[in-house]
Symmetry: C2
Subunit: 214 residues, 2 copies
């Protein structure tokens, strides 16, 4: 397998964790999201992923896009260890948390959006950072009581082993810390993040351990 | 089943199509996203969905959130007719298109984001509409050649029957048309949209057919 990745991309980070948890080896192809206006927008990469975003995973000639679709694919092709629970209701719960992060928080805060705010709407750096924090805190404000109050919450989001929900949560927290979001109001989220960072599959997937880390 | 919905919500629209395609009857609970600052933000609804967004589906006491998690749940609990292909590679393809719309286009253009642009960043209505069109055209520019060039494209995104990808695509096109996005550059997307609107399950799910339509 070959993963097209950028060390700081949250979406690529999710897939790296999944690959590590499943014990799957892969080649790392770095796509620099800033250099020369963004290598992800170049024709060479667009042939791999027409969306012009990372990650993309190539498995035996198949080119796969969208981090959560890639994770579902890995789950179907390499079911052990499972990244989803066994019952439909609990699977929906885990997926809903992954999707809350992937659809309600992350899309508003990724690089191309922050660039548009700055260059097309001419917002100040201060307003841009406030925008970032607004969507993270808005999302975490909803997520924290949900996790704190759910009996399924364990060392991880669902019980004591990682699921797809943790694969979305950990990169989002990493990103929030980079933007100095105050995590004091989110003790359950912070605790799960701390737990994950004691787990080898998460550590090896972290941005600073990637070949293209700066 | 009971669906918490708003007639114009793209995410609720996706789930309505899924329920219709699966032939599942449901009660419709209208949540008005504008009235009184938004009923979705009131404590009554937050008890159903702490995220304060629609849709939510209640099935036999289970409360489910996030449209794509709900659709996966319906797929697992009511597998016929299937909304995903049978092979992992094709399932990943269909999911990646649904996610491209759900993660790269829709989150940037939903009501709460447009409200933030207007009220917190004080952008003009013109700049807000340009923002809207930017993210739709950015997404459709990537999607159109993908669909036009893929041999799996049929009357629908994948073959001649609807899948999860069409459930995401149709509401997004509906929404784009409302904002006067010029669809001339997207003939394949437009053709699939037109095809879907000849399909009873899609027609009955459309915003103007809902009890809370205005």
């Amino acid at each position: 397998m070959k993963l097209y990745s950028y060390f700081r991309s949250s979406a690529a980070y999710r897939v790296r964790i999944a690959l590590n948890l499943k014990g799957l080896a892969y080649d790392y192809a770095a796509v620099h999201l800033l250099r020369g206006g963004g290598e992800q927008l170049m024709p060479e990469y667009r042939r791999i992923n027409p969306d012009g975003i990372v990650p993309a995973l190539v498995d035996d000639g198949l080119v796969l896009q969208q981090s959560l679709a890639i994770i579902e694919y890995l789950e179907e092709t390499h079911p052990n260890p499972p990244l989803l629970p066994s019952t439909p209701g609990d699977r929906a719960y885990v997926r809903s948390i992954a999707l809350q992060i992937a659809c309600e928080i992350h899309p508003l805060n990724n690089l191309r959006v922050l660039k548009y705010l700055k260059h097309s709407l001419n917002v100040t750096d201060e307003a841009k950072d406030a925008w970032y924090r607004h969507w993270v805190t808005n999302g975490f404000d909803a997520l924290e009581p949900r996790l704190a109050g759910d009996p399924r919450t364990g060392q991880f989001v669902y019980g004591d082993t990682p699921t797809m929900a943790d694969l979305a949560l950990v990169p989002q927290v990493f990103n929030a810390l980079r933007f100095n979001v105050d995590m004091a109001a989110y003790p359950t989220i912070q605790r799960i993040y701390d737990e994950a960072l004691r787990h080898d599959a998460f550590v090896r997937a972290s941005p600073e351990k990637q070949p293209d880390a700066e």
